[in-house]
C-alpha cells in the first residue's frame, strides 16, 4: 500500500514537472507581455490536474501494453520466419492507423479548400469531399508503404541515411514540379501522420525486430520507421497534387 502511494506520488510529480514549462511560458506572457490577468483560474487548475493524471496513466499504459505487445509480435514474426506475413502486418499497421487519424482528416479537408480556391477542383461539396478522401487514402497508402520499406530495411540491414536522403531528393524534385498551393500542406502532412499511439507501437516493433535478428543493432537499425512514415506522405501528397 505504501509502495503504491509512493509510486502514485512520483507519477503525479513527474506529470506536473512535464507540464510546468507550458504553464510558466503562458503565465509569463500573460502577466508581463500582454499584461492581463488569467481568466478562469478554476478551470485551468482542473485542466492541469486532468493533464497530469492523463500523462501518468498513458506512460504506465505504454509500459504495460503497447511496448510489450509491439516487441512480442516482432519476436513472434522473427521466429515464424515468414517475411510476407510480417510485411502484411507492417502495411496494415501503417495504413490502418493513418486512415482514421483525426489530424489527417483535418489537413485533408483544409487541402481540399485550398484546391477549390485555387480552382484546381470545382468548388462544390462533393468535389471537395472526393478530393479530401482521395488525399487521405493516398497518405495512408504512403505510410503503409513506408513501414513496409522500413521493416525490409531492418531485415536487410540497409543504412537508413540512404533511404532518407534519397527520399529528400525526391521531395526536392517534386517541389519543383508540384502546384504551389499544395507544397505547404504536403510538407505539413509528414508531421501529422504519426499519432501518439502509433509512435510507441511502431518504435517497439522496430526495436524488437532489430534485437531479435542476429547482426542487427537495435540502436542503429531499430529506429527509423517513424522517419520514413513522416517522409513518404510529403512525396505522395505532392504527387497527388500533380495528378488531380
Amino acid at each position: 500500500m505504501r509502495q503504491r502511494l509512493t509510486n502514485l506520488f512520483f507519477a503525479i510529480f513527474g506529470g506536473i514537472r512535464d507540464l510546468l514549462p507550458i504553464i510558466f511560458v503562458i503565465a509569463f506572457f500573460q502577466f508581463f507581455i500582454l499584461q492581463q490577468p488569467i481568466p478562469n483560474m478554476g478551470q485551468i487548475l482542473l485542466g492541469t490536474v486532468l493533464v497530469t493524471i492523463g500523462l501518468s496513466l498513458f506512460i504506465r499504459g505504454l509500459e504495460m501494453g503497447l511496448f510489450p505487445i509491439g516487441e512480442s509480435m516482432a519476436y513472434a514474426f522473427a521466429r515464424k520466419g515468414n517475411v510476407w506475413w510480417l510485411l502484411a502486418f507492417a502495411f496494415a499497421l501503417g495504413f490502418g492507423t493513418t486512415v482514421a487519424e483525426p489530424a489527417l482528416k483535418a489537413v485533408a479537408d483544409e487541402a481540399a479548400k485550398v484546391a477549390a480556391e485555387g480552382q484546381i477542383i470545382a468548388n462544390t461539396l462533393s468535389a471537395r469531399d472526393n478530393y479530401a478522401n482521395g488525399l487521405r487514402l493516398t497518405v495512408a497508402l504512403s505510410v503503409g508503404l513506408a513501414i513496409v520499406v522500413g521493416v525490409l530495411r531492418i531485415l536487410k540491414g540497409w543504412p537508413i541515411q540512404i533511404l532518407i536522403i534519397g527520399g529528400y531528393l525526391g521531395v526536392v524534385v517534386m517541389t519543383a514540379f508540384a502546384p504551389k498551393e499544395i507544397i505547404g500542406i504536403a510538407y505539413d502532412s509528414g508531421g501529422v501522420t504519426t499519432s501518439t499511439i502509433t509512435v510507441p507501437l511502431v518504435t517497439a516493433l522496430g526495436v524488437g525486430l532489430a534485437s531479435s535478428i542476429s547482426g542487427r543493432n537495435p540502436m542503429v537499425d531499430g529506429f527509423g520507421l517513424i522517419a520514413l512514415a513522416s517522409l513518404t506522405p510529403i512525396i505522395f501528397v505532392m504527387g497527388y497534387g500533380m495528378l488531380f
Binding site: G61, K80, A103, V220
Partner: protein, 263 residues
C-alpha cells in the same frame, strides 16, 4: 453539460484512434501468430490505461491550456498589440517589430515539446536500448530546442513572406552534412525525432500561431502561408539531436586527449 459533451467527444475520437490498431494487432495475433499473448490481462489493462490517459490528457489541455494559448497567439499577432510597443508615428511594420511573436514561438515550441507524450515514449525506448547512454531528458531537451528554433524561424518566414521551400531545402542540406559527420548510433534516432515532435500538444497551439500570423500580416493569406510551421518543427529536431550527439562525441574526445596528456 458542456464538459460532459467534450469528454464524450474526446473519448470517442481516442477510441477511433485505438480501435483499428487493436483490431490489427489482435487479428494478426490470433489468425497468423496463433499463440496466446503472454500476460493478456496486463496488456489489455495497459491499452485501457493508454486510452483513458490520452483522453484525460486531451480534455485537460482543451480545458486549460489550449484556449489561453490560442488566445495569446491571436493577441500577440494582433497589429494593435504590436503597434502599442512602438513609439512615434506608425509606419509599415518591419520584421523585427514582431520580436515578441518570435520569442513566444520559441518558448511555446520548447515547452509543448517537453510535454509531448510520443516523444516521452521514444525517449524511454532510446534510453533502454542504448543502455543508458542516451538520457531521457537529454533527448527531450535536444528535441525541444530543435522545435523551438524551427517554430521561431517558421514565424519569421510567415512575417517576411519568403518561400517555404528555401528553408526546407537548406535544412535538408544541413541534415545531409550532419549525417556524414555525426556518430552512426544516433542517426536513425535523430531522423525519428523529427516525426514524433508534432502531435497532440504542439500542433494545435502552433497551428493557431501560424493562422493568426498569416491572417494579420499584410499580404499573407492564411491558406497559403498558414501552413509550414509543422514542417519546420519536424525538420529542426533532426539537426539539434545530431548536433547534441556531435557535441557529446567532441567533448569526450577532448576529455580523452587531456587525460592522455596528463599521463
Amino acid at each position: 453539460m458542456d464538459l460532459l459533451d467534450k469528454i464524450w467527444t474526446v473519448f470517442a475520437s481516442t477510441m477511433t484512434d485505438v480501435l483499428p490498431i487493436a483490431g490489427i494487432i489482435f487479428g494478426f495475433q490470433w489468425l497468423v501468430i496463433r499463440r496466446p499473448i503472454s500476460n493478456l490481462r496486463r496488456v489489455l489493462l495497459g491499452f485501457v490505461y493508454v486510452v483513458v490517459g490520452l483522453a484525460l490528457f486531451l480534455i485537460g489541455l482543451e480545458e486549460a491550456l489550449f484556449p489561453l494559448g490560442k488566445l495569446m497567439a491571436q493577441q500577440l499577432t494582433d497589429p494593435a498589440f504590436i503597434h502599442s510597443h512602438l513609439d512615434g508615428a506608425i509606419t509599415a511594420l518591419r520584421w523585427y517589430d514582431y520580436k515578441w511573436v518570435y520569442i513566444f514561438a520559441f518558448a511555446i515550441g520548447f515547452a509543448t515539446t517537453l510535454a509531448e507524450p510520443s516523444l516521452i515514449a521514444v525517449a524511454l525506448k532510446a534510453h533502454a536500448v542504448s543502455g543508458g547512454a542516451i538520457s531521457v531528458w537529454g533527448l527531450r531537451i535536444a528535441v525541444g530546442l530543435g522545435v523551438a528554433v524551427g517554430i521561431a524561424l517558421g514565424t519569421f518566414r510567415i512575417v517576411t513572406g519568403t518561400p517555404l521551400h528555401f528553408y526546407i531545402m537548406a535544412g535538408y542540406v544541413v541534415v545531409m552534412i550532419q549525417t556524414m559527420l555525426a556518430p552512426k548510433l544516433i542517426i536513425a534516432l535523430a531522423y525519428d525525432s523529427g516525426g514524433v515532435t508534432t502531435s497532440t500538444v504542439t500542433v494545435p497551439l502552433v497551428t493557431a500561431l501560424g493562422l493568426g500570423l498569416a491572417s494579420t500580416v499584410e499580404g499573407r493569406s492564411p491558406l497559403l502561408d498558414g501552413f509550414g510551421l509543422i514542417a519546420f518543427a519536424s525538420l529542426f529536431p533532426m539537426i539539434s539531436v545530431m548536433a547534441y550527439a556531435q557535441f557529446v562525441a567532441w567533448y569526450e574526445r577532448r576529455v580523452n586527449k587531456r587525460s592522455l596528456k596528463g599521463d
